[in-house]
Structure formats: structure tokens, C-alpha cells
């Protein structure tokens, strides 16, 4: 299933093995954007299935930062049980702002595998 990108929201793709979020994120209403993502994750994520969340963002605003922070916190809790859950944070190599953002999200996590991947 694909939620197409808009000029202010990224494309979101769901499969049985994971979810990909790709683009820019500064929606008018963050909860409108985030609700279907949270719903899908609730449905698709079990205690043991391999599941990977790939995030490739070029820009996000401060309201979206709160959503991603909460998302990773919730995935971190799930990862205490599901060892096959992981997040891949992709950033354009020359964009330090998105690398810094990824590193900061990474800092608080206890259980979740969260890797940073430079796009060359």
C-alpha cells in the first residue's frame, strides 16, 4: 500500500516486511499525516516478525520532529520484544542537517537497531 507524497508530506509505502517514508515532511496537520502510519504499524508489527522502517527525509519541521521522536520511542519499546525490528535512517551524504537529526534520534534508544546510511 502506498500513500503518495504531497508537496509537504513524504511518500509512505507499507509492505508486510516494513515501511518506507521518503520525501519532505512539514504538513499542515501532523496528526492527519501520522494517523495512518501509526495504524499500519499497529497492525503489521507483531512480536517477532522481521520488520524494517526506512526513513529518507530531506527536510522536516519541528512539529514533525515530535512525531518522529514519538514513533522511535514506540518502536524502541516494541524492539524490547521483537529483535527483528530495525530502523534505517537514510540521509544525503552532503546534508549534515539530516545526519545530525538521525544521530539525535538515535541517542535515546535502548533496544531498537537504528542505523544511519549515507546516500551518495
Amino acid at each position: 500500500m502506498i500513500i503518495p507524497a504531497t508537496s509537504r508530506t513524504p511518500e509512505v509505502t507499507f509492505t508486510a516486511e516494513g515501511c518506507t517514508i521518503k520525501g519532505e515532511c512539514y504538513p499542515e496537520d501532523i496528526s492527519e499525516f501520522s494517523a495512518p502510519i501509526i495504524k499500519h504499524l499497529d497492525n503489521d508489527l507483531t512480536e517477532s516478525n522481521p520488520y524494517s522502517v526506512e526513513i529518507e527525509l530531506y527536510y522536516f519541521n519541528s512539529s514533525s520532529a515530535k512525531f518522529f521522536f514519538d514513533l522511535f520511542e514506540s518502536l524502541d519499546e516494541s524492539a524490547a520484544v521483537n529483535k527483528q525490528l530495525k530502523v534505517i535512517w537514510k540521509y544525503r551524504e552532503e546534508d549534515d542537517t539530516m545526519l545530525d537529526a538521525g544521530e539525535e534520534f538515535q541517542e535515546d534508544l535502548q533496544n531498537l537497531k537504528f542505523s544511519l546510511e549515507a546516500l551518495v
Binding site: 508537496s7 509537504r8 519541521n61 519541528s62 520532529a65 515530535k66 549534515d96 539525535e104
Partner: protein, 183 residues
Amino acid sequence: MNNKSIQLHELMLARGTFFCYAGPLSEQVLTSISAVVREQLTDAQTDLSIKNTVFSIFIEQAQNIIRYSGARLEGSGVGSVSISHTDSGFMLESVNEISLADKERVEQVLRELKEMDASELKSAYRQRIKSGPPRGSVGAGLGFIEVARRSSSFDYSFEQRENKTLFLYRGWVAAAKASAFSS
């Protein structure tokens, strides 16, 4: 009248202002003007980090006006946002009316943020993102901290105009070479 038009033109060029919007600002308007700003930044700056930093301050300032401007028009906040070239990079400005209650709150927040160094700003950001927005905030309550962290420097002032107060909020972003346009 004509004279004023010429003055405006000259003032904007003299200040290196390559983008300015003044009037009612809604999320729909922001969608359109942010595409323009993106386009202009692509022409002005090749460094992705700098481009992103300028863009993010612009968005935070614009959303401030949309959400909190004291002057409203059918759901829009009235104010102005502009981006200018300077000798050392970019300057982003926003101006909007502000209520007295908001002025006190905003002034206190910005005064505190201005005193903080980078690591204090980082912990303020992390504290806020964990605890969630303060009362009366429409967004995540992170906008001012975000601008303080991302800008090379920022300042603010309040101006009394008869029965209203105007809030000027400025952020600077350092960049080696702004543009051929500003030569």
C-alpha cells in the same frame, strides 16, 4: 504613490531581499510560497545543509505567523516574512502583531534561549520533545528552540504602534558566498 513603489523596490534591492511576502498567511499560502523559496534557494546556494537550514527557519517563522499572529483574517495570520542576502550569508525576518499576553510569554522564552549555548539548547530541545508542547501551543512547541539551534544567531524586538504591538524576529545563517545576484 509611485514614489513609494520605487522606494519599496530600492529598499528591497539595497537590503538584498530576494523573497518577501506580506499579508494573510495560511497553510495553503505557505504551500505555494515555500515552493518559490525552495526554488530561489536552489539558485542562491549549493550547500544542502545551508539550504535546509535557511528553509527550516523560514518555515518555522511562517508557521509562527499562521498560528500565533495577533492580526487574523479568516483563519489566516497576518504578517510578513522575508529572506535577504547579507555579506555573511542569509537573514530571515518575520514581523507580526502580537497580543500582550503572547508578548510576555514569547519574550521570556526568547530571552532564555538567547542566553543558552549549543549544548544547553540541545538539552532544552530534548526536554521539550520528550515532554510535549506547553499549554497554548498549537505545534510541538519546538519552533523557537529549532531556530535558536539552527541559526548562526537570532534576535527579536517588540515595537509599540498606537494600540498594537509588533513582533520582529530575525535569524541569520552564515554562508560563504550568498549569490552572484547580491554582488
